[in-house]
């Protein structure tokens, strides 16, 4: 299994509070992705990174920001959480571009009350 972890695994927060989710990899893969998964929508790309400090928006990026200051860490921040951001968040990593095989972390279940 690819060495990829996510923290926290579960979080409950209130509307309007900032939240940061962390994805950590030990594979030294260049590409990292953040997805959210909701019933009926499958997996939707939020942001992705193709290197340190190189990030780009995905399909559903509004309300989210990301940062990648080290190869191994990719942070997802909800500046002011809303109930519509209640979801399961998956981080994924990939070694090749455009995109190649992706390996997913265990996921973070976020509930915004």
């Amino acid at each position: 299994d690819a060495g990829i972890t996510q923290s926290p695994r579960h979080k409950v927060t209130e509307t309007g509070t900032p939240v940061t989710l962390r994805c950590h990899q030990t594979e030294n893969h260049r590409y990292m992705y953040w997805y959210r998964q909701d019933p009926g929508h499958g997996l939707r790309l939020i942001h992705y990174s193709y290197g340190v400090k190189d990030t780009d928006k995905g399909e559903v990026s509004d309300g989210y920001s990301v940062s990648r200051s080290k190869t191994e860490d990719f942070l997802l921040t909800l500046e002011s959480a809303t109930s519509s951001q209640t979801s399961v968040y998956f981080c994924a990593i990939g070694a090749t571009r455009d995109p190649g095989e992706q390996y997913f972390g265990p996921g973070t279940r976020l509930t915004v009350t």
Binding site: H41, G42, L43, Y48, F90, P99, E101, F104
Partner: protein, 109 residues
């Protein structure tokens, strides 16, 4: 530009075969297949590239029809362990990689 998957759900008995389809309205240069078991993360199965390159996994194979912009996943002699939700992901020229909504497969003893 989310790809369309069919069927939405399928139930079969152990040992039976199944086909899951994935289609896109735009030209594709690669199709990916993933399987996700309940409460777990998606797991990569295979990738199909324009030009015919294909990778396989156990008794699961797939085809990629570039002209029809569609891919099919074939599960042969299904095992109980095949149960889960199957997602296709498509890469279109100049656009982000996108997952389909998933097909829920249930294999019964």
């Amino acid at each position: 530009q989310q790809p369309v998957q069919s069927p939405q759900a399928v139930i079969l008995r152990e040992g039976e075969d199944a086909v899951i389809n994935c289609s896109s309205s735009k030209a594709l240069y690669s199709v990916h297949w993933y399987r996700q078991k309940h409460g777990e993360a998606p797991v990569f199965l295979m990738i199909l590239l324009k030009g015919g390159e294909q990778k396989g996994h156990e008794k699961i194979s797939a085809s990629f029809n570039e002209k029809k912009q569609q891919s099919s996943l074939y599960l042969t002699a299904s095992q109980l362990s095949y149960s889960g939700t199957y997602f296709c992901g498509t890469a279109n020229y100049g656009q982000n990689f996108v997952f389909g909504p998933g097909t829920r497969l249930s294999v019964l003893p």
